[in-house]
Amino acid sequence: MHDVRDALMVGRDSKGKLVNRPLSPHLQIYKPQLSSATSIFHRITGVALGLGTILLAVWLVAAASSDHAFALVQSLFASWLGLLILFGFTLALFYHFCNGIRHLAWDAGRGFDLPAMHRSGRIMIAASIVLTIGFWVIGFLVW
């Protein structure tokens, strides 16, 4: 595989000169920034939400199975451990939702400069926290 590695690590610049291609940041010595932190948390919340879809499937399958199974699942979700997991799930969901909107805006070529990116990052974090708390306040009121 030396051939492929060589081809991937070395490229030519616009003048045709051979240059080393840039490497990914070395995480151990890389200062965390709002941009890198929000990016990796988008991935972490995505994987966490993926695990959370197991809960969605369990909820729906129990509802389709029997009264007993659904009552059991609903009581597990209403236990304090269940509520804690669901709280984490909603936080991950609102984070991924809000940051996903940022990603879609970037895909449309908007908000790419650093000040705008930092501003939208702070707004996104605040919005996901507000939405999560709002969800649980309203949730406990209607429960």
Partner: protein, 131 residues
């Protein structure tokens, strides 16, 4: 890293690139991830509202809710977009972090199987409640 980069292999750029493929599937993965993301914006808000309405519900209330045709349709749309989006995202994560060709292939197949089964279990349950 070398101060003076050099290519030691006596092959042209084109010769090396040929056969590696254009990132395997080109544009489709990227676009499908965006399409499902846009679909999930309203659908996930609908889901969050539904979960709130159904908190503490018994099975009869749940069946009554999902039994409404528009709720069944929106749940099925949510399940389709959500699990497709999930498979695309997890594929990217696996391809980024698992480097051996064999373990990567096995991981991708296992992930696809798990996501497909979760999607089918969810969709069949919604249909059973609704029909």
């Amino acid at each position: 890293m070398d101060k003076n980069p050099k290519i030691t292999v006596m092959r042209s750029q084109l010769g090396r690139a040929r056969g590696l493929g254009a990132a395997k599937s080109g544009f489709h993965h990227w676009w499908a991830q965006r399409v499902t993301a846009i679909a999930l914006l309203p659908l996930s808000l609908y889901f969050v509202a539904s979960v709130m309405i159904l908190s503490g519900a018994d099975r009869a209330a749940m069946a009554g809710y999902i039994g409404q045709p528009w709720n069944a349709v929106l749940f099925l749309a949510l399940i389709g977009a959500l699990f497709y989006h999930l498979a695309l995202g997890l594929q990217t994560v696996i391809e980024d972090y698992i480097h051996g060709e064999a373990s990567k292939l096995v991981s991708l197949l296992a992930m696809r199987a798990a996501v497909a089964l979760l999607a089918l279990a969810s969709a069949v349950s919604v249909l059973k409640l609704a029909l």
